[in-house]
């Protein structure tokens, strides 16, 4: 079997060096920043196609020296140098894009050490705060989305490194106590235990020059050292001690990555001392460290020298290396230019050509026109002649309506796409569902939305109509208070209701410590409960108000007076006469409330991040969860997806309206008579 080698893969969209790299749950690689010229961008590498795809830009400030962590909720926590003008934390979700995260309590962090305690907790310690070097530390929890300040380090540490020990503990080593050049190097290390705080983890000469810590396995960490005593050191938690490792084949200060096999690959870097301008010499060397044999071996060199490349392990044997700087210009000769090229070790060569973006397919309009034609023929065929077919005419009208929606939607999106994309071709947020087949997205999203609608509609119908029947049936004056609350609820915007619901969730959490909210984008019972509650409140109020009007209008009819004159109990009159006679109008009211619900669906789903038809539709027309930017972002319409989603929503509405219309005719003989007369 041939030895694995480096193979070319797709080029980065933006030249980068020193970018933050995170492997996502779907196996893709997210890189952020490292593009001083680009002002902080991000892109995703797909190992399947070898293609890079730009994603929504991170918030301002995450250009260099950022660190990313994949959390248990499948999101990436990005920590970067912050200031009073820029955030120092953000979160990336493959479907929602960038989400804001509260800044750590250590304001203006820089040169900090950070590592994951476990799947959901990230420790941030030391660095430079607003008042200089700091010994403060804080933990971010993915469940609560909040930072909690924890015990301080034993001393201030600037530019230290951190790594997880794999058992809920984090090791922090190296760094300097202050920014002063004459500061005494700190060759000590300490371990953070969430239960007991910090404790010493021994020391080793030269440990202060640690530039990267890598977890080798439970309780074992590898430290890569530079400076006067370069090489590697290994920490063993069982003995709480450090040991120097074997010398590297090449004296480089490269980027290391741990492969799934447990080996560590050291790639490129600097062959010079790296201590000042003009001393950096990019390297193409690649070395492999095997912890089981505690030995190094050399691998094939990279295609070009790379200083500060981005390195990521793709699977057991494959490693991606991209970007970096090949040539460092002499002082005064200009700024170095990062590379765009990328290569994969142990993989096959790929071109990395991305697929086309979503321009509305002409197939939609062809389908829509065909449906219109069929509808027209069916309607004419059923209406003209000696024996008009009511069913045929109905189906014809249905086809006409659906075809019209498809054509109108296609025309609108084609028009908007033409205007927008001619102005600003470019990249926008991508989401996981955009890369899936259209049919699958529609099917899954429709299922989720229908679940939400079903619960909301059920609740709204029971509460709204129930209240209307109760008020009319009980003839209780005190229940008139419902009228005022109904008027209030009906004018409260849906997003305000959602905000109030979130306040309620925060209140419950604050009082009891119970987490009653689901995270953005989660699909579970808690999310469906809150989202359907918000979605159903206004339709419930609408049903109450109009249902009551319908029933009260019926009470003025002669047959009601007759029934009462006959001595029938009022409850009996309501049950046997009012509800039956008002049934048709109540169904019409219900249809209107349903339309109200469909209209609010995009907003509610967007608010809760619920991946149904509404949220995907809003995102497919360019709305993102981005945390804001000074630069207007190009808008990308996912034309086919947007059309498919609108048509699906419209079809749901048409089908519900049609079936409700049938129910209305069946319930109310007066409507049947009017219909027959027409």
């Amino acid at each position: 079997m041939a030895a694995p080698t480096w193979a070319e893969t797709g080029q980065l969209q933006v030249p980068r060096a020193g970018a933050a790299t995170v492997k996502l749950v779907n196996g893709r690689i997210l890189v952020i920043g490292g593009d001083s010229h680009g002002g902080g961008t991000a892109e995703v590498y797909d190992p399947g196609t070898g293609a890079w795809k730009r994603v929504e830009d991170p918030p301002p400030g995450f250009i260099n020296n950022a660190q990313g962590f994949l959390l248990g909720n499948s999101r990436v926590l990005l920590l970067g140098p912050g200031s009073n003008r820029t955030a120092s934390a953000a979160s990336f979700d493959t479907e929602l894009g960038w989400l804001p995260v509260p800044d750590p309590p250590i304001d203006g962090i820089f040169d900090f050490a950070a590592a994951q305690l476990d799947a959901n907790d990230v420790l941030l310690a030391g660095g430079i705060g607003t008042s200089g070097p700091t010994d403060r530390a804080a933990v971010y929890n993915a469940h609560t989305g909040a930072w909690v300040e924890v015990t301080k380090l034993s001393s201030t540490r600037v530019a230290a490194s951190a790594a997880s020990l794999g058992n809920g503990l984090v090791l922090v080593a190296g760094g300097r106590p202050s920014l002063r050049s004459d500061a005494v190097p700190d060759d000590t290390a300490e371990v953070f235990d969430p239960g007991t705080g910090w404790r010493s983890a021994g020391s080793l000469p030269g440990l202060s020059s640690t530039y990267q810590l890598l977890t080798l396995g439970p309780g074992k960490v590898l430290a890569l050292l530079r400076g006067a005593l370069p090489g590697i050191a290994i920490y063993d938690a069982a003995t709480n001690s450090w040991q120097r490792g074997p010398a590297r084949p090449h004296p480089t200060v490269g980027q290391a990555v741990r492969m799934a096999t447990g080996r560590v690959m050291l790639v490129g870097g600097d062959t010079g001392s790296g201590d000042g301008p003009g001393t950096i010499r990019p390297s193409a060397d690649v070395d492999l460290y095997d912890p089981t044999s505690n030995s190094w071996s050399s691998l094939q060199q990279l295609s070009s020298p790379r200083y500060l490349p981005l390195v990521a392990a793709l699977d057991n044997r494959t490693v991606l290396v991209a970007g970096g700087i090949a040539v460092i210009p002499a002082p005064g000769q200009g700024r170095p230019s990062p590379l765009r090229t990328a290569e994969v070790f142990g993989g096959r060569a790929t071109t990395g050509i991305a697929g086309p973006t979503g321009i509305p397919e002409p197939g939609w309009i062809a389908g829509g026109l065909a449906l219109l034609l069929v509808g027209l023929l069916a309607w004419l065929g059923a209406s003209v002649g000696r024996r008009p077919s009511r069913l045929g005419a109905g189906l014809g009208r249905l086809a006409l309506q659906a075809g019209g929606v498809i054509v109108a939607t296609w025309a609108l999106f084609a028009f908007a796409h033409l205007l927008v994309n001619n102005r600003s071709p470019g990249n926008g947020a991508i989401a996981g569902f955009f890369s899936q087949p259209l049919g699958q997205v529609l099917w899954e999203a429709a299922g989720r939305s229908l679940t939400l609608i079903a619960y909301a509609s059920l609740g709204a119908t029971v509460i709204g109509l129930g209240a209307a029947i109760a008020v009319v049936g009980l003839r209780e004056r005190r229940l008139v208070g419902l009228e005022l609350s109904g008027a209030l609820l009906l004018v409260i915007p849906t997003f305000l209701l959602a905000i109030l619901v979130q306040e309620l969730q925060a209140f419950i959490f604050g009082k009891t410590g119970l987490i009653v909210a689901a995270g953005y984008g989660d699909v579970n019972g808690i999310q469906v409960f809150w989202a359907s509650l918000v979605l159903g409140i206004r339709p419930a109020t609408y049903l109450y108000r109009h249902g009551r009007t319908v029933l009260e209008r019926e009470t003025t009819e002669d047959y009601v007076r007759t029934a009462e004159a006959k001595g029938l109990d009022w409850g009996e009159v309501v049950r046997r006469h009012l509800l039956r006679a008002g049934g048709g109008a109540l169904v019409a009211t219900w249809i209107n409330s349903f339309r109200l619900m469909i209209g609010s669906l995009p907003l509610v789903e967007y608010f809760f991040g619920y991946p149904g038809l509404g949220r995907i539709l809003v995102q497919s027309i360019g709305v993102t969860y981005g945390v804001g930017s000074d630069v207007p972002r190009p808008v990308v319409f996912r034309g086919d997806l947007a059309i498919g989603l609108v048509v699906t929503l419209a079809l749901i509405l048409i089908l519900v309206e049609t079936s409700a219309g049938g129910l209305q005719r069946w319930l109310d003989p007066r409507v049947r008579a009017l219909r027959a007369a027409a």
């Binding site: 509260p102 929606v405 939607t409 905000i499 209107n592 209209g599 804001g628």
Partner: protein
Amino acid sequence: MKWVRAVLPFVPCALLFGALAALLWIGLSQPVRWAERRYILGYLSGSGQEVAPAYAPLSRVDVFEQGSNVRYDGHLYVIGSDAGGRDLLVLIAHGAVLSLEVVLLVVVLRLLIGIAAGVAMGLGSRRVQTFTTLISRWIAGFPYLVLAIVLITALSGWSRFWAFAIAMAMVGWRDIAQLTAERVEAILAQPYAEAARALGGSRFGIFRRHVIPHLRPVLLVETSFQFSAVLVLLGELGYLRFFLGQPFSFNQILLPQPELGALLAIARDYIISQQWAPVLAPAGAIALLALAFELLGLALRSTDRSGRPAYVSRRAAWRAPEPATEPSP
């Protein structure tokens, strides 16, 4: 006591409008710097305790203007401040003026389109009726927010202001058209309209002399409800980051132009950072304004006797009663 009965329904909306107008006046009478500059450092008046924005409602703070470092003592934040230390009341007051201008324009456009379509549906020939009904049904099949966003995005290159006005007008004219068509049909079925036809009156003449006078009170009520609906839509679009003015950043807290929708554009960021006043204040302002118009519409309807015809048109029979009270766009 007849006048008391006539005035009584207007009391709640008059009180609400009065309170909102007073707040608007207070906000507008404050120097505009409280909506334009940043005040990121302050001390609670009296105690001298250092505080940072967002300043709490009803707090009196000695603040420093960023950039010039000029100190302003004892500024009262009636409903709090945003994250840049700017007075929310002043921001909302200035934003409300621009927002109400847009809302007024949108309502006028909706009325124009809706009345034209409604008259065509109720008075036009069979073909015109079929065509306008079909168009109206196709529009109804489109989720209103999405239609508005697509139109705003597409037309913004031409003019952001008119993009908003046209987009919001295009999503809400259907209710007015339906209402107008129903009323036109109902009026044309009345004996006096039939008599006018029998006497040889032209379509236009009957419309001018008999239909328009009966349409006026209904449309007045509907106009009030439309103000409410457009305000809510403006807030919803703002929450989805579609607002008048330039994009801005949450962290830099720079609003180039206060507008009620723009004030809500960073609502999610405020919610995540657990700052409620900067979200609830503009959202509450929109809701209260909408409620005031809703109450005005209800009051106007309670005084309108023309809205209860003995005849129920065919179209009306298919719809829920009193559709105009629906405050959705």
